[in-house]
Amino acid sequence: MSRAEELVAIHEKKTLGFWIYLMTDCVLFAALFATFAVLRGATAGGPGGPELFDMPFVLIETIILLTSSFTIGMALLGSVRGYKTQTLVWLFITFALGVVFLSMELYEFMVLIGEGHGPQQSAFLSSYFTLVATHGIHIAIGLLWMAVVIVRLWRHKFKKTDVNRLALLGLFWHFLDIIWIFIFSFVYLIGGMA
């Protein structure tokens, strides 16, 4: 195998490995979703989903995250063509949307905890906070990763491996989007029904 072929093979291995990592993460979320499904009714006399969830607020959160999935796609398109500025601008927009999403989620948590409905109140709230916060932690990791990519692109020239990395970041971000759609559907829409 020539060196050039080897480098392509390395990239292919990384992509496959990352896909598999995402699938294992999917299993982790599946365990948390199952936990939520089991504990959904275990409110221990406290409030349940219908009383706690602010649906319009969550809808805005959802739209923001979905939009960020579009914008990171644009960044990716830019990077494939080698347009540095375009990539950076779209990445920055994605980053900002991610920060807004995360802040909104934290605000939602603070309101709930402030009203005395923290994760310690009931099994339902434990599972709700854990599932949503696990997604939030993933978003935070994605943001950290994005920040590193932005700084690197700002400072250095585009390398082939940078584009590859960005593609993996894109995968990660889209994956979190899909998980959020499930959270929105199962936790908020179904869980929020009376």
Partner: protein, 663 residues
């Protein structure tokens, strides 16, 4: 004021936590003593640089594999010492004079956790690292650096689980820590936290390693080696890592939830505020049952190689072997509830899981028959690995049959939590995984050292092991029938159980003699290695790993072989074609990296800090891990080039050495 500062710095750690009762203190002191001796020894012989360059920072899977095995052997001895204490307590049946019940509980929890996570998992990852790249004709694993991280996370978990011998106490909640006993209410101490973080950290290492080997096998096979031309061992590894990918995230989630219950006062598994302890049991076994197949499938693979090689025949029923492996992999996710038929899931639920458990015995039975048919009309050479194989067939079949007995829910209500169950799973895991590991060790030892292990001592070890094994566990089956439950630190003498416990104790003592012979065998063989020097293919083997030099060069294969058939190396030896002059090429290998060890060290610090509630230290260690990862990942993995000329020179040198040996 002063107390507040102390608490902020040291969390719940006090000087009192260093005080232990005599037996534990003795064990702890000897452990610390051995560590200090090792450090003095390394300093005295000026080996730090060598250790750092050749081992700690190495990304060579062969070296990482050896490190896995070293850790596992040490942990095997620790687990064996635990077992001896447990049996001694049951033989003497004193009322807390040898071990009080609290200490007894800590020991059986440690015995189980260590044997599964730090012996079983360590052994299989050691063997994966050593064999898989060679067997598929590859120079490396897919992600060499990730491999190093996995190992050091495993090592970090190992250190955390041994910390209670020096500071604090271990969990008393058994190897799977069922709540509510493992919850904050009934286990307020640090024991369960030690258990959680040791397993969590090493479990993440296992998960990463699983991904690594999956990609390695999928992407890095030699040209021509299609999936159905892979050796059975590689197939078994592929299935085992597939299980790891699906099962270990569940463990991560479950341990995480238990940690949240204990540290942040949540209510997943508590018996109040809506918590559901049985959900923990379901989740942990959704990981736990696949876990036993994660351990035993590679052992199946090992025995498939051993029995084919020593019978001088290709494996009987290759395709059915592969189908059986895949079937076990899928079915292993449909049987978890048989660990707790007594939950009260109802007749229909229990029936489903009972039948699925019986079904999973079918592919396993297929494999047993295939192995036996491989021996049939073969020219069987009864070397030590083959003895381990024969021992395995006997113990594993016995264990399998008792397993099918317990798969009947109505019967299981009798056996649940009894010593019958304990005897069953020791039959499977010792007779399956451990015997497999011993066979692998003897079989592949010359591959990595260039000399074989002493046969006579190996046979002694085997016979002591097998006799001791049956003496140790058959009485437990009988005791189980008589109503003895597991985790029993004393019983009423009028029950008449003591005689059987004494027999079991004698069995453990005989196993210890076997282990002594194994250690002596290694020492003796290394000492007399000049007498046992062999060429690269001492067993006239069939698979590619034997086509490289023994010990293999860092790059494994100077020229990547092209595969056309199953048992590729055997066919190469059979074909009359003269080997063509090899065309060497430049080889790129990963540069050493200390980042894996640093991440391991920080992860260990993080785990210990969370156990003791030293939050500042946990934050520091966590930030350290993140920074290390960012620094390491934001650059391409550095590699160095071994030029074709250098490879040619190295190959010539080994060739001359080999000729010297055969003369």
């Amino acid at each position: 004021m002063f107390e507040n500062i102390l608490q902020a710095v040291f969390g719940r750690l006090t000087l009192q936590d260093f005080v232990h009762e005599p037996i534990m203190a003795g064990a702890g002191l000897s452990m610390v003593g051995a560590l200090i001796l090792a450090i003095i020894g390394i300093t005295f012989f000026k080996k730090w640089k060598w250790l750092w360059r050749n081992w700690i920072t190495s990304l060579d899977p062969k070296k990482i594999g050896i490190m896995y095995l070293i850790v596992s052997v040490i942990m095997l001895l620790r687990g064996l010492a635990d077992a001896m204490l447990l049996r001694a307590q049951q033989v003497l049946n004193t009322n807390g004079e040898l071990l009080n019940s609290d200490h007894f509980q800590q020991i059986f929890s440690a015995h189980g956790s260590i044997m599964i996570f730090f012996v079983g998992m360590g052994v299989i990852f050691g063997i994966f690292n050593l064999i898989v790249p060679q067997q598929i004709g590859s120079r490396d694993v897919a992600f060499p650096f990730l491999n190093s991280v996995s190992f050091w996370l495993f090592a970090a978990g190992m250190i955390i689980i041994n910390m209670p011998m020096v500071v604090g106490e271990f969990s008393t909640a058994g190897w799977l820590a069922y709540p509510p006993l493992s919850g904050l209410e009934y286990s307020p101490g640090v024991g369960v936290d030690y258990w959680i973080w040791a397993l969590q950290i090493s479990g993440i290492g296992s998960l990463l390693s699983g991904i690594n080997f999956f990609v390695t096998i999928i992407k890095m096979r030699a040209p021509g080696m299609t999936l159905m031309k892979m050796p059975i061992f590689t197939w078994s590894v592929l299935m085992s890592v597939t299980l790891i990918m699906f099962a270990f995230p569940i463990l991560t989630a479950t341990l995480g939830l238990l940690a949240l219950d204990r540290t942040l006062g949540m209510h997943f598994f508590t018996s109040m505020a809506g918590g559901n302890p049985m959900m923990y049991v379901n989740l942990i076994w959704a990981w736990g049952h696949p876990e036993v197949y994660i351990l035993v499938l590679p052992a199946f693979g090992i025995f498939s190689e051993v029995v084919a090689t020593f019978s001088k025949k290709r494996i009987f029923g290759y395709t059915s072997m592969v189908i059986a492996l895949v079937a076990i992999t899928i079915l292993s996710f449909t049987v978890w509830l048989h660990h707790f038929f007594t939950m009260g899931g109802g007749a229909d639920v229990n029936t489903f899981f009972g039948i699925m458990t019986m079904v999973i015995a079918i592919p396993t039975g297929v494999k047993v028959f295939n192995w036996i048919f491989t021996m049939y009309r073969g020219r069987v050479d009864f070397k030590t690995p083959m003895l381990w194989f024969m021992g395995f067939i006997a113990t594993f079949t016995l264990g399998g049959l008792t397993g099918v007995m317990m798969s009947v829910p109505a019967l299981d209500f009798q056996f649940h939590n009894s010593l019958f169950l304990v005897a069953h799973f020791h039959n499977m895991i010792v007779g399956g995984v451990l015997f497999g590991a011993f066979a692998a060790f003897t079989y592949w030892f010359p591959k990595f050292t260039g000399f074989t292990l002493n046969e006579t001592l190996g046979k002694f070890a085997f016979w002591f092991w097998i006799v001791g094994f049956f003496l140790a566990f058959v009485p437990l089956y009988i005791l189980g029938f008589m109503g003895a439950v597991r985790r029993l630190d004393h019983y009423d003498p009028s029950l008449g159980w003591q005689g059987l416990f004494i027999v079991a104790g004698i069995g453990v003592a005989i196993i210890c003699v076997g282990v002594f012979f194994q250690l002596f065998q290694i020492a003796y063989s290394v000492w007399k290695r000049k007498e046992n020097m062999v060429t690269s293919d001492p067993w006239d083997a069939r698979t590619l790993e034997w086509s490289t030099n023994s010990p293999p060069p860092e790059y494994n294969f100077a020229v990547i072989p092209t595969v056309t058939t199953r048992d590729a190396f055997w066919e190469m030896k059979q074909s009359k074609k003269k080997p063509t002059e090899p065309e060497y090429e430049d080889i790129w290998l990963p540069k050493n990296s200390g980042a894996g060890a640093i991440i391991g060290l920080l992860a260990m610090t993080f785990g210990a800090a969370v156990v003791w509630h030293m939050w500042w230290l946990a934050v520091v260690a966590f930030v350290g891990i993140v920074i290390t990862i960012i620094i390491k990942l934001s650059d391409d993995e550095p590699e160095y080039k071994l030029s074709a000329a250098k490879v040619a020179k190295h190959e010539l040198k080994t060739k001359l050495k080999l000729q010297e040996k055969t003369v």
